[in-house]
């Protein structure tokens, strides 16, 4: 078969269609004649014998292959390949050996060509033998390990050379947006709850202690019970007692009489001789403060019970004569604060747990749409299976929907540009193929005619044949010149270098131009 199509696929198609040889244009005429001779010679030689390998019968005269009586239709090249393999039963043939035996021209047949034919032979072999047949032409990792039907494993080698399919970049673990959102949510809520707990704890504590202090001050403002001034006769005691009269009578909490206010002189003796109680001791700090005219508050523990003791100086006629003490039990206050602390410590983790669950739920709802958009984008992809007609789902009227609409608009423009690019590429390919085809025809003539002229010159025949050859070469060169000129004109037109000039003209002008000026 002679053709301007020289791609591997075209060669395979031609050979698979049954052609025995395939020669792309332009070809060397000497090579063409050599191939003709080889085909004719091989056809004569191969009509002489029958090769049998097990139940495989190769009739070289008829070029017919059967196995177990089943006919296997093979192309010329497939037959040559199978015959070469069968003729070397039990041996391992290298690619080069197969190229030499089957193709003879090693430059034309590459290793991939051999692989292609082995694959085609295997395809035809398997249906003919059914599912019970052993796989033919199996490979051996080492050339010396021969199998009943020797060869290598071309498919496996081809598979290793295949490019890796397109894939998206691997996702980095542990860094998903969902995890980050939940972590940020929990961290922010933990800080908020911690701050709120501290504020609540401080506020409640301040409120309770303020209440206690107000109660203590109220107790201290109550006038003490009447008693005789020790050593100085009667008279109203504590005539200028600090704070003045209180609004109501103090009743100690829990009805404990021991917590009633106490009054002592600066030496710690009760001002009321009938009062046998002793001052609440805080290592003399209360009396020291009273001597300086200052109030003093201290937390002391009496019989295991915490008390807040307020000590105020007793001033009479401008002189500090003693110390008045009032106490309030802190048991309930501290128990309340402890309960509050426990509640806060228990509630904060529970709140954080709830925040985690809520955050996970909300982020899942939000990110579900992002995930759908991502899956749609992955379906669209950027590889050879890209579906530019696909679009992201648009639901509602929120930010995601607007983002999806924007992305869809972008995809629409991308699809349009892609289609245009595809059309342009197809046009370019077609143009290049057409131009190549048109150029190869005169080139073939030039090469073939020149080689024939050389051959005839070496044979001594150089009279009339040379004239015909040179005339053909000249015409082919003229045709190439016309083609090249037309191509340059088209290139200039595509480049916008030609001004547009509309005018009426007969179409025959354009039909006739590309045709080579050969006589019919």
């Amino acid at each position: 078969m002679l053709t301007a199509r020289d791609a591997i696929d075209d060669r395979v198609r031609g050979l698979d269609a049954g052609a025995d040889d395939y020669l792309p244009k332009p070809f060397d005429f000497a090579e063409f004649l050599a191939r003709v001779r080889a085909l004719l010679r091989r056809d004569r030689v191969h009509r002489t014998r029958v090769i049998r390998v097990g139940d495989l019968v190769i009739d070289t005269a008829q070029r017919r292959v059967t196995r177990a009586g089943a006919d296997i239709g093979l192309s010329r090249r497939e037959y040559d390949l199978l015959e070469a393999l069968a003729a070397h039963e039990g041996q391992v043939l290298t690619r080069e050996a197969i190229q030499e035996r089957v193709w003879m021209n090693a430059e034309e047949a590459t290793s991939s060509t051999v692989d292609v034919y082995i694959g085609m032979l295997r395809k035809k072999w398997t249906p003919a033998m059914g599912s019970n047949s052993s796989k033919p032409f199996t490979a051996s990792a080492t050339p010396c390990a021969a199998r009943p039907h020797p060869l290598w494993m071309p498919q496996q080698r081809r598979r290793r050379r295949e490019p890796e399919p397109f894939s998206l970049p691997a996702r980095r673990g542990g860094g998903s947006l969902r995890t980050q959102l939940i972590a940020w949510n929990i961290a922010a809520l933990a800080v908020l709850l911690g701050t709120l707990g501290v504020v609540v704890r401080y506020t409640v504590s301040s409120f309770l202690m303020a209440s206690v202090n107000r109660e203590l001050e109220r107790m201290e403002r109550l006038p003490p019970p009447p008693f005789r001034d020790r050593g100085r006769g009667g008279g109203p005691p504590f005539g200028d007692f600090r704070g003045g009269p209180g609004p109501r009578r103090f009743r100690p909490p829990r009805g404990d009489e021991t917590l009633r206010p106490r009054h002592f002189d600066l030496q710690g003796r009760p001002l009321n001789p009938r009062d046998t109680r002793r001052p609440w001791d805080d290592n003399g700090a209360a009396f020291a403060a009273a001597r300086q005219g200052r109030e003093h508050r201290a937390r002391i523990v009496v019989d295991g019970e915490p008390l807040l003791v307020l000590s105020v100086p007793i001033v009479q006629r401008g002189q500090i004569i003693g110390v008045g003490q009032a106490a309030y039990p802190l048991t309930d206050v501290e128990r309340t604060l402890a309960s509050l602390d426990a509640a806060l410590l228990a509630l904060i983790p529970v709140a954080l747990l709830g925040a985690w669950a809520g955050g996970a739920f909300l982020t899942e709802r939000v990110l579900r749409r992002v995930r759908h958009a991502t899956q749609a984008a992955e379906r669209i992809g950027v590889n050879e299976t890209s579906d530019f007609a696909a679009r992201l789902p648009v639901t509602g009227n929120d930010e995601f929907s607007r983002l999806a609409e924007t992305f869809n608009n972008l995809l629409g423009r991308l699809e349009t540009a892609f289609r245009q690019q595809q059309r342009l590429l197809e046009q370019q390919r077609r143009f290049a193929a057409d131009a190549s085809h048109e150029l190869k025809t005169p080139l073939t003539v030039i090469k073939g005619t020149a080689s024939m002229a050389l051959a005839s010159s070496s044979n001594g025949d150089s009279s009339g044949h040379h004239q015909r050859s040179f005339r053909d070469i000249n015409r082919a060169a003229d045709a190439m010149s016309h083609l090249v000129g037309d191509l340059l004109l088209l290139a200039r037109s595509d480049g916008g270098q030609l001004g547009r000039n509309r005018s009426r003209c007969p179409c025959a002008t354009f039909w006739s131009r590309p045709s080579p000026p050969y006589p019919p």
């Binding site: 002679l2 025995d20 004649l33 003539v445 024939m452 053909d472 082919a476 050969y518």
Partner: protein, 75 residues
């Protein structure tokens, strides 16, 4: 040997014909696929030289028709 050349490109066909005749072969020429197929069915050729891009019937179809018709000559 009698050889059939199926080629629509006249200068190439002429060149092939001239070269094969110099090699002492008898050459027949067909300018399109259908004519070439008919000639191949009617005459015993030792070899067929076939172009791919042919009018009326392209080379692929001619090739398949030749094999389907069990025309055993190489081409």
């Amino acid at each position: 040997m009698r050889i059939l050349v199926i080629e629509d490109d006249t200068p190439i066909a002429a060149m092939i014909r001239r070269g094969l005749e110099q090699a002492k072969h008898v050459v027949d020429h067909a300018g399109d696929g259908a004519t070439g197929l008919q000639m191949a069915r009617e005459n015993p050729y030792a070899l067929i030289v076939l172009d791919v891009m042919l009018p009326r019937m392209d080379g692929w179809r001619v090739c398949e028709a030749l094999r389907a018709g069990r025309i055993g000559c190489p081409f």
